[in-house]
Amino acid sequence: MIQLENIQFGYVKSRPLFKELSLTMEPGHIYGLLGKNGAGKTTLLKIMSGLRFPDGGSATIMGENASLRKAEVLQNLYFLQEEMFVPHLRIDEFEKAYAPFYPNFSSEKFAEYLREFELDREFGYMDKLSHGQKKKVLIAFALATNTKVLIMDEPTNGLDIPSKSTFRKLMASAADESRLVIISTHQVRDLHSLIDMVAILDNGHMLLNASSFEITEKLLFDMDNMKSAEGKIFYTEESPRGNYQVKENVNHIDSTLDLELLFNAAISKKNEISNLFK
């Protein structure tokens, strides 16, 4: 559904952000796009959506060149920005203005999602709402568009604790086999239960692109060797409760994926982790 091949890109020619970056994303998954500050997560999302053009390589979405920004492609793509823009409209006016662009938009679902976030269409002008409320309206709208591709840049930033849980609930209910959801985030603990594919961007390359199943097949998330004393340790993190470890899962023991530990392990042992998933 989204295919990036040998993408090269840089805001400054002497400092390329992406060098020959390749990535394929398929429907039926919720991808977590992780990376350090300045790694280029938002830029990569923009390239996928045709909002930025690569200097080299190709970006295709639903079989079309993303840079062309064809209407048929945009009808099936919703990009939720981190820094949101909301026009001076009431929620119902916003729906009247923008819902017609999305053929599969569901007005009932929009109302339902707003209710879940304790909002309604008569809530007043969107630009007068708080940051979190604006985000909730746009998340509800994004989910109600029923687009095949949903791209969300830091969707939980600015959401209060109950809203984060509502967000996870709504995302789980909205995801299906035909839909591809890409979430770029630093708040990995918020989305830990949601993400089933992990893509880690580092130094212009995809360091890792694997399913959570594949990750827990190859890596063991352990504490103080409680599950196993075998396997090479890639990362250790001290805590008051003991030492968290990420190690090679030589005995195929079940463990729960911890995205934060995985990210730290991948960043600290780049080559070893990368080779493990080749």
Binding site: L74, F85, F101
Partner: protein, 242 residues
């Protein structure tokens, strides 16, 4: 570059939902400016003033049409709206060339009518002139609008002022070049005593061959200018990144 009329209709609908209040306010301001301009001016022959103010409103309008392109988040919002680049340009062409022009004509006519009424009450039976308008001026106005339209996509901020600035600079360079050519060679491409007349005059029996050539070439250049700047606008939008 095939366009879907449904997408254009959706873009127009979104525009009107977002902007009808602002537009109504601006049309009201125009009517008031024309009315009070006439009263302050102290004369009922105020067509040129109404025309001038309407033109100022019209040339500023494209900056509003493309205001979303001038900052980061609104730009992403605008570029991600499900309509092609050509549909977005055509929609804004319809708004600038038809809708807003009609709105300006109606509101300035309203201002003129109220001014006329004012002068009538004051016992001055002036002539209500709104239809005596050279059609070649219409072409000039539309040609200028196409330049401002392009400027509003091309420049990142203060698009109207930037367009005026660059336009003046280019005009000065061209004027200098033409003056230099005439001075060096002692020739002019424009036939002697030729003037830019309206269509009816140009194609009437009164027009001489040099008049006809001058005016026809003038119309063609203006028409080509309009097409050129709208095509450039499309290409610029196509190349715009967020």
């Amino acid at each position: 570059m095939i366009m879907n009329t449904k997408n254009i209709a959706n873009l127009l609908k979104a525009y009107f939902i977002e902007n009808w209040k602002t537009d109504l306010f601006q049309f009201g301001i125009l009517a008031a400016v024309v009315l009070f301009g006439s009263i302050i001016n102290g004369s009922p022959t105020y067509l040129n003033f109404a025309l001038f103010v309407s033109c100022v409103f019209l040339m500023i309008y494209p900056e509003r049409l493309f205001r979303n392109l001038h900052s980061s988040s609104p730009k992403i919002h605008y570029l991600a709206i499900p309509a092609s680049n050509s549909e977005k340009v055509v929609t804004n062409m319809i708004l600038a060339n038809i809708y807003y022009v009609v709105g300006l004509v109606i509101s300035s006519a309203l201002g003129l009518a109220l001014a006329h009424l004012f002068w009538k009450v004051r016992g001055y039976d002036g002539v209500f002139l709104y239809t005596s308008f050279d059609d070649n001026w219409v072409l000039m106005i539309y040609a200028t609008l196409s330049v401002f339209f392009f400027g509003s996509i091309y420049f990142r901020r203060r698009t109207t002022l930037s367009t005026i600035g660059v336009g003046l600079l280019i005009s000065m360079v061209f004027s200098l070049l033409v003056s230099l050519t005439v001075w060096v060679n002692g020739i002019t491409l424009i036939p002697k005593d030729a003037a830019f007349h309206d269509f009816a005059w140009t194609f009437s029996s009164r027009a001489t061959l040099p008049d006809w050539i001058t005016n026809t070439v003038g119309y063609l250049i203006l028409s080509a200018n309009i097409i050129y700047f709208y095509v450039l606008s499309f290409l610029r939008l196509k190349e715009t990144e967020a």
